[in-house]
Symmetry: C2
């Protein structure tokens, strides 16, 4: 197991409805050394690409994006979620549905911060059905920005998102892929990516 899988196995909690809680170290309380290491790992995976910006979505993507951006020495742009948007001409907007919260959000990025000269790395904490990620990719497309890669901390391999994103041709690297989880035993099986 790599350090992400080890930490999930140690501190992740499985809840009903295929929910994996990692809020003690990743997305509510945050272990800064752990997230720093995630940032380094994304840099190792994508440093061969001409990345000039990291794109993520609020809120739990922000620290991960920040950690990665320190290694790439580039700015972060985080997309904002909004229930309703006064769609003015100065924003890119995409509608996404959250798996966890079962609600739709508009995802918004100002046109000032993304354009055709950008070569971006998209990062996020989770990839499940892939809707949030497709929203970010759609915004990047609208901006004619180049998506050089996608870095995910935890992919749920038993949901469709990873397959959809890979089939679309994106260079998706997930630091861990959960193949199965058992709420009753607490057991988590990871995909062997070697």
């Amino acid at each position: 197991m790599n350090f992400v899988e080890e930490r999930i196995a140690k501190d992740g909690v499985i809840k009903s409805g295929n929910v994996l809680k990692v809020d003690s170290f990743l997305n509510h309380q945050m272990d800064v050394d752990f997230i720093d290491r995630i940032g380094r790992e994304f840099y190792k995976g994508f440093s061969c690409k001409p990345i000039n910006k990291i794109l993520t979505i609020e809120a739990s993507g922000i620290a991960i994006a920040y950690a990665a951006a320190r290694h790439f020495n580039v700015p972060v742009v985080f997309a904002k979620k909004s229930r309703s948007v006064n769609i003015s001409g100065d924003t890119y907007v995409s509608e996404v549905e959250s798996f966890t919260h079962k609600k739709k959000n508009m995802v918004v990025v100002s046109k000032r911060f993304l354009n055709e000269t950008d070569h971006i790395l998209i990062v996020d904490d989770f990839l499940a059905n892939g809707c949030a990620l497709q929203g970010l990719c759609s915004i990047a497309d609208s901006a004619h920005a180049h998506v050089e890669g996608i870095g995910i901390v935890i992919e749920k391999g038993f949901q469709i998102g990873g397959q959809v994103i890979r089939n679309l041709g994106y260079d998706l690297q997930s630091l861990s892929i959960v193949e199965a989880m058992d709420e009753s035993t607490g057991e988590i099986v990871f995909r062997n990516q070697k």
Copy 2:
């Protein structure tokens, strides 16, 4: 002017309704070196305190908290905003009203991540009417955690928040205090804190 005031003067944009936009470097696109420096500054200001946790609120507080936490070598907890909360027994909840968005949010922190042994530094990007901050202080009180200090990047000195928080006895340090801004001229006047 210090580095925060200089950056605001250079890249801040004044909008009607006393809105100061700093989204090109602080809370939509993020300049990672600038935010690192903010983290160092908070460490300088509060390193004499026995801080074991940084508390902030999603979304724009997260990167600042993360940058500070790297210097203190402690975890971050970010409070979550929710329009409606299933108030279960395992969360601290406080209701706050956003100045910018004119709407009420519940602010929520899991009881697992804040308790009476914690000595916390609260950080956020803006302090205006102080409602978000009072929400965080209220949550810290509910947890019987000790608020050792509060670090703010931009305080709007012409609004009531800073005075309220200082009158409550908190050690509030703002890296910049805007005394006045003029939308027509673009001029920003900072309080002399020397």
